[in-house]
């Protein structure tokens, strides 16, 4: 393929790709993201190819391995276009029937359709499923429609047209004002206005400027950046090129976690294809503007998501943050002005340029515009990636889209913002989610992790989990963070092991305040959030651990034991069969008994019992 030399060249090519892709043609889209991959996409793909060949459909139906469709719980997902018939949890053995009935005859196979757990109704089209119906997927929408390793697909859906518009009809300053007017804020957690960041970087003193994409998605429980890079890396690249044009940069970097091998691979292919078309490299589309992008793979350190640490890591050094009295937009990578934005932020840029800042600013709340992708995970029926306008309530996200809490359990809290965020209790379920509202209740937006917890999750254990995580991830150079978090971890471990003392809660609060005030970087400054919010909203649980030596949720092993409720137990014997320690005994149809000396509290019996006869005491 020869390089595109002008706007005209691009437009001719785009029209050609559009023509080649009749919207009425038969396409089988199979999710090949990491999530569905772990559920067995490869085998489904093989079966599909074999079956298409066998039925002589080669050339008549297009099989497309796409990026993440978002509804990971139901993977592997197969969607058949043009109708959009949605088959969840597809196994290789389902394929012959799907090909024979749906692809050949256009019949819908009723019993393979998605069944709504609430209404118990079968739903044939993806867009009618409650999980998708209430979303607004402007950033994520194309993920299920394009082949991430085929740039032609992206171009056929007007991909890179925002770049053309910016390069040929807008000055760099006009691009910056459009981003400023749109109200776009950093999606990586900080929520800093993107346009202002770009403007400062453009005006900063220096000859060379860099733009960077932060794909070091370290927040455990969030994976939208991985899914975007895997499924639609061109949208991120296009955003970066526009940003580079606006800022006046010729060199960009994507700093991506090495734990995301598929994202690294697909991004690499994306860069190569964009270079082949002349959309990256020297003299982009004949505009005279040069820009190249390099991938840098991270070494697995959470702190490298922090801007100054990330830039040290890019320089091949140990990723230790520095104080930010000099901002990275003035002096970042190689001491030059550097604009760092998150993956999702970059992916928003082409959308704003294409649709105009006014349209974008019409979505969301007063100070938080556009949409946000959340990774809705944990104890919720429909887990997956959810994109909604800013200001959507937690209740809508968790209950209407997420389908509520499974197994008739009770909602307890939702944790937003990852290790730096906080837990939000039931009282605030109607909170509209935006940067300000989350901060008001002590949490943060973060990169969009949303972990739902039910009655079986212990909040003290959760705080201990996050503090432990941060203890291991602290770079160790500043004392408040290194020593303070270690002390908090020790106190929390004591509480969870039944060695909590009166005054521990107050001591935790004091430590937390100190760590927040005096830590050098964002990791330390936000580290105590999970402890502070769990104390604020679930103090009685801490007190139960410390005073009564009980873990009400039945998580902290030293603080509870299982007992059989003799009235509820009908002696079905299931728990006894499943117990790995042979600790449960009893005759069939007679109440059973747990031998406390043998029991290792593995919770297998508790989860197996269908009659709620195993009690946490």
């Amino acid at each position: 393929m020869s390089k595109l030399q002008s706007q005209k060249n691009y437009e001719v090519l785009r029209e050609q790709f559009k023509k080649e892709r009749d919207p009425e043609r038969l396409v089988v889209s199979l999710c090949a993201g990491s999530g569905c991959g772990a559920s067995g996409t490869k085998e489904v793909m093989k079966a599909l190819e074999k079956e298409v060949l066998k039925n002589g459909l080669k050339g008549k139906v297009e099989i497309k391995a796409t990026g993440c469709h978002g509804f990971c719980e139901q993977g592997p997902i197969v969607v058949i276009y043009p109708e959009g018939i949605f088959y969840p949890k597809v196994k290789p053995e389902d394929i012959p029937e799907i090909v024979a009935k749906t692809i050949v005859n256009g019949e819908v196979i009723e019993n393979k359709l998605y069944k709504d757990p609430l209404s118990k109704k079968r739903i044939s089209k993806g867009k009618d499923i409650p999980f998708y119906r209430q979303q607004l997927r402007i950033v994520f929408g194309n993920n299920g429609l394009i082949d991430p390793n085929n740039i032609d697909d992206y171009i056929s859906m007007d991909g890179y047209s925002a770049l053309v518009k910016a390069l040929f009809t807008m000055s760099p300053e006009e691009v910056i004002s459009a981003i400023k007017e749109s109200g776009l804020r950093g999606r990586g957690g900080g929520g800093f206005p993107t346009g202002i960041k770009w403007e400062t970087c453009r005006k900063a003193h220096g000859d060379i400027r860099y733009v960077m994409c932060n794909a070091d998605e370290g927040d455990p429980g969030a994976y939208m950046d991985r899914s975007l890079l895997e499924g639609n890396s061109h949208s991120v690249l296009e955003g970066m090129i526009i940003g580079a044009y606006a800022i006046g940069s010729n060199q960009g970097f994507v700093y991506v976690r090495n734990e995301y091998p598929l994202a690294v691979k697909n991004l690499g292919i994306g860069i190569k294809q964009a270079e082949e078309y002349g959309l990256l490299g020297k003299n982009i589309l004949g505009s005279g503007f040069d820009f190249t992008v390099k991938i840098s793979r991270g070494g697995g350190a959470f702190v490298c998501g922090e801007s100054t640490a990330l830039m040290r890591s890019l320089e091949g050094k140990v990723g230790r943050p520095r104080a930010k009295y000099v901002h990275t937009v003035d002096k970042g990578y190689r001491e030059s002005p550097s604009a760092l934005n998150n993956v999702e932020t970059w992916a928003n840029v082409p959308i704003i340029i294409n649709n105009g800042p006014e349209w974008y600013a019409s979505l969301g709340t007063e100070k938080s515009k556009g949409t946000k992708v959340f990774s809705l995970v944990g104890k919720v029926r429909n887990t997956g990636l959810v994109e909604v306008p800013m200001g959507t309530s937690l209740r809508t996200i968790i209950y209407d889209i997420g389908g509520g809490i499974p197994k008739k359990k009770k909602f307890k809290a939702v944790q937003t913002g990852g290790p730096s965020g906080g837990c939000i209790p039931e009282d605030f379920l109607d909170l509209p989610v935006d940067y300000e509202r989350l901060a008001e209740v002590g949490s943060i937006m973060g990169s969009g992790g949303m972990i739902v917890m039910d009655q079986d999750n212990c909040m003290v254990d959760l705080a201990r989990y996050f503090v432990d995580f941060l203890k291991n991830e602290s770079c160790g150079q500043c004392t408040p963070c290194r020593e303070g978090i270690t002390q908090m971890s020790e106190i929390l471990t004591d509480i969870c092991e039944g060695n909590g003392k009166e005054g521990d809660i107050e001591l935790l609060e004091e430590l937390a305040t100190m760590i927040k005030r005096f830590s050098l970087c964002g990791l330390g400054k936000t580290a105590p959030n999970s402890v502070l919010t769990t104390i604020l909203y679930f103090r009685e649980e801490y007190e139960a651990h410390i005073r009564d030596k009980k873990c009400p949720a039945g998580v902290c092993k030293a603080l509870f034991h299982y007992e059989v409720d003799e009235e509820l137990c009908n002696g079905c014997h299931l728990c006894a069969l499943k117990c790995p320690q042979e600790a449960v005994t009893g005759e069939k149809k007679e109440p059973h008994h747990i031998d406390q000396d043998k029991c290792i509290k593995c919770s297998i019996c508790y989860e197996a019992c269908k009659f709620d006869a195993i009690l946490i005491k």
């Binding site: 999530g35 772990a38 559920s39 990971c72 969030a222 070494g299 104890k379 959760l462």
Partner: protein, 170 residues
């Protein structure tokens, strides 16, 4: 002084032959630039499963940097190990979503089964058990990976079955 000897002791467990052809290729791909050190070490790790001392000496020489610089990066980043690791590296995801769905229990049962603790390698150099904070398959938790393959929606039984499959392989 004592600490350094201890470190040396660990490193001398196994003498690796230096594959200069591979290393030269890696260094060339990374333009022999110390700025790409982390990626160079990743490629070394991909081949040897750890960072052998002899290989690091070679990297020091070719990049013209100090061993202390390499050592600081090798010990700072979680992806690197200075000790030999097993043929199959099992990573148990302990991300939040996996944690709330009982990842800890999966880790415990694997520890019991393989008779090693987190971060250790079995004597026959077959398995290394590690933990990772999030693999980004949060909707399918608990998740483990064995080398590059991911397995989702696990419980104890399913996790042990996966390990059995690898145990049976030569």
């Amino acid at each position: 002084m004592e600490r350094i000897t201890a470190i040396k002791g660990e490193l001398q467990v196994k003498i690796e032959p230096i594959d200069t052809v591979y290393l030269d290729k890696v260094l060339e791909q990374n333009m022999q630039d110390p700025e790409n050190l982390i990626m160079i070490l990743q490629d070394v790790s991909a081949k040897y499963n750890y960072l052998p001392r002899e290989v690091l000496n070679y990297v020091v020489e070719r990049l013209n940097v100090s061993m202390s610089l390499i050592y600081s990066a090798a010990t700072f980043y979680k992806a690197f190990s200075l000790k030999p690791r097993g043929k199959y590296i099992i990573n148990v995801c302990l991300g939040t979503a996996c944690h709330v769905r009982g990842a800890e229990k999966i880790k415990e049962s694997l520890e019991e089964r393989l008779n090693i603790h987190e971060g250790e390698t079995t004597e026959n150099l077959k398995f290394t058990l590690e933990t990772v904070r999030c693999l980004g398959c949060c909707a399918l938790g608990p998740v483990i990976t064995v080398n590059e393959t991911s397995y989702g929606g696990l419980d104890r039984g399913k996790a042990l079955k996966i390990i059995e499959k690898y145990e049976d392989e030569a």
